[in-house]
């Protein structure tokens, strides 16, 4: 069984080499399925038939990526990339990366020095706070996997079983920040030349609910030119949220107009979604709704009144005491 890769762009040359070696490997092995995901230029996955998923799914939390970017910005003079340890939890089908810390290292043409004492210390400290996190791999910024990576990966395999390797292209070499995860596998002709192959894994982003809201807020900073945003509160937030829903509604309306005037062919599934949307507004008789609305408003007004009263009361108390 043979796997081939399409040469999509210059970056895929390394994949082609790997595929050729896989052909050799399979030929000597004589069987077994090899899964290979090929990254197309858009960064999406395309898998060929008769391939099985190799390795678990990697779920990343945004805090990890933000930390990696931050350590890249703070790197020492002359260092072209930073590396660090990934912490998280391992499941049967997935690996969840929840935390990370950077490790100082020196890299030159022919040698690599990583401060392992430091890594161990940091891990101990982190374990005090969250005892469920274990070392599940390491990360590196930069685009390719170099030979030094292999050495570092070997070290990490001593710390954790089957570590994953995450690369974040913070130098934006290909115009995008590519975030990929790999697992290493032995390959080669047994007994003679052995090598290590990094097989890519599928990467997903997961958030806790509260994280999602925090990230939402951060998303809004990217539109302001000074990249700043104050934390608003109160009614303005509801107004903002309502404005967003309104925007969405206008987009949907524009689409419907287009379909009606024949500019765009109608899509049935979209139509079904729209039906769902319209039906979601509950049909309550006007009287009932009015009652509900009024009682709710009354509750809220009463609570506001009471809290104002309490505040006035304690203010008075203060003044009396100070007499």
């Amino acid at each position: 069984m043979v796997a081939t890769g399409k040469p999509g762009s210059a970056e895929e040359s390394s994949i082609i080499i790997i595929t050729i070696i896989i052909i050799v490997f399979c030929a000597s092995d004589g069987g077994g399925q090899v899964a290979l995901y090929v990254f197309t230029e858009a960064g999406e996955l395309s898998s060929f038939s008769k391939m099985s998923v190799f390795g678990p799914v990697v779920k990343i939390h945004p805090v990890v990526l933000a930390s990696i970017c931050d350590s890249y910005e703070r790197r020492n003079e002359g260092a072209s990339r930073v590396i660090g340890t990934l912490l998280g939890t391992i499941d049967k089908h997935s690996i969840e990366v929840t935390n990370c810390f950077s490790v100082p290292h020196n890299e030159s043409e022919d040698e690599v020095a990583v401060d392992m004492e430091f890594a161990k210390n940091m891990y101990e400290l982190h374990k005090r706070v969250s005892p469920t996190e274990v070392i599940i791999g390491w990360y590196a910024t930069g685009f390719d996997i170099t030979e030094h990576s292999v050495l570092i990966h070997e070290y990490y395999s001593r710390e954790a079983s089957n570590p994953i390797h995450l690369t974040v292209d913070s130098a934006l070499q290909s115009g995008k920040m590519n975030i990929r995860a790999y697992v290493s596998a032995q390959m080669g002709v047994p007994g003679k030349t052995v090598g290590v192959m990094f097989t890519p894994l599928s990467v997903k982003y997961v958030y806790y609910d509260t994280e999602r809201i925090g990230v939402d807020l951060l998303q809004r900073t990217r539109v302001t030119p000074s990249r700043t945003k104050g934390l608003t509160s109160d009614l303005s937030q509801v107004a903002g949220s309502a404005a967003r829903v309104q925007d969405m509604l206008t987009t949907v309306l524009a689409y419907i107009e287009d379909v009606l005037s024949g500019k765009v062919t109608a899509d049935n599934s979209v139509g079904r979604f729209l039906m769902d949307l319209v039906n979601k507004v509950p049909t309550i008789s006007a009287e009932d709704f009015e009652n509900m609305l009024n009682s709710n408003i009354n509750d809220l007004l009463m609570v506001t009144y009471l809290s104002n009263l309490t505040q006035a009361q304690i203010a008075l108390n203060e003044k009396l005491v100070l007499l």
Partner: protein, 317 residues
Amino acid sequence: MQPLYLTLRLSSIVIIKHYQEEGQGSEVVQGVLLGLVVDDRLEITNCFPFPQHTEDDADFDEVQYQMEMMRSLRHVNIDHLHVGWYQSTYYGSFVSRALLDSQFSYQHAIEESVVLIYDPIKTAQGSLSLKAYRLTPKLMEICKEKDFTPEGLKKANIGFEHMFEEVPIVIKNSHLISVLMWELEDKSTVADKHELLNLSSSNHLEKSLQLLMDRVDDMSQDIVKYNTYSRNLSKQQQQKHQYLQRRQQENAQRQSRGEPPLPEEDITKMFKPPQPPPRMDTLLIAGQINNYCQNVKEFTSQNLGKLFMAEALQGHN
């Protein structure tokens, strides 16, 4: 008042994550804020959490943990200047003696330090709730003197509104993080949840009101104590007065009879003044009640807006 800049991607996200993992109960999670002071702004760039206090970990040294963490972070060029600390809160109840003490010790050491309060329940309702507080200079004075008697507080003329001052927060991101945000927006498949527009809110309101009621009860107890104290004090004054008068009368009578006057006795030893109750707790409770009321008002205003929106939606149906 110095506005507070937070290069927040790390701080807020880490705090949120820490709370999610550790503080699922009603315990608070705490941690240290790191950053630096630039011109008139305080920039917070990183933070790390403190492990929980467990009883079976008696030999755990907090200071040592902190020192080691900061030393390690210095190696990777992360700002290691201690600028404050953060704490999570439960429905807004964070004004307590412990917080006051901690913040005082921090502010004593570092002038601009702040305490960042993160409210996870409010955040889950749709808007990131992070507030930064600092003690007012007046309160710092009082804490330094440790003079919590009513007279002391009266001298300083401090009310519960002057205890904490809120520092406005601004989030600032670097360009690289903006790129990251664009990437995440592209790749992430989680739908945009509009929790902020959620109408079911009575649960939250109930809880807040219950806490408010507890506090008001505490407050009234305190007030009763204070009242009894002042009544005792005035009664004692009266007794002293009466005793003095009787003495004088007796002395006058004895003089008229030609006998030596009675010796003046030390009144202060006879009438020991009652112990004035410490007023600090009352101040704290008042501050807490104020906080609750603020939160409730904010909440109700948001809900009113939402209700009117729902009405508009129904109207078109």
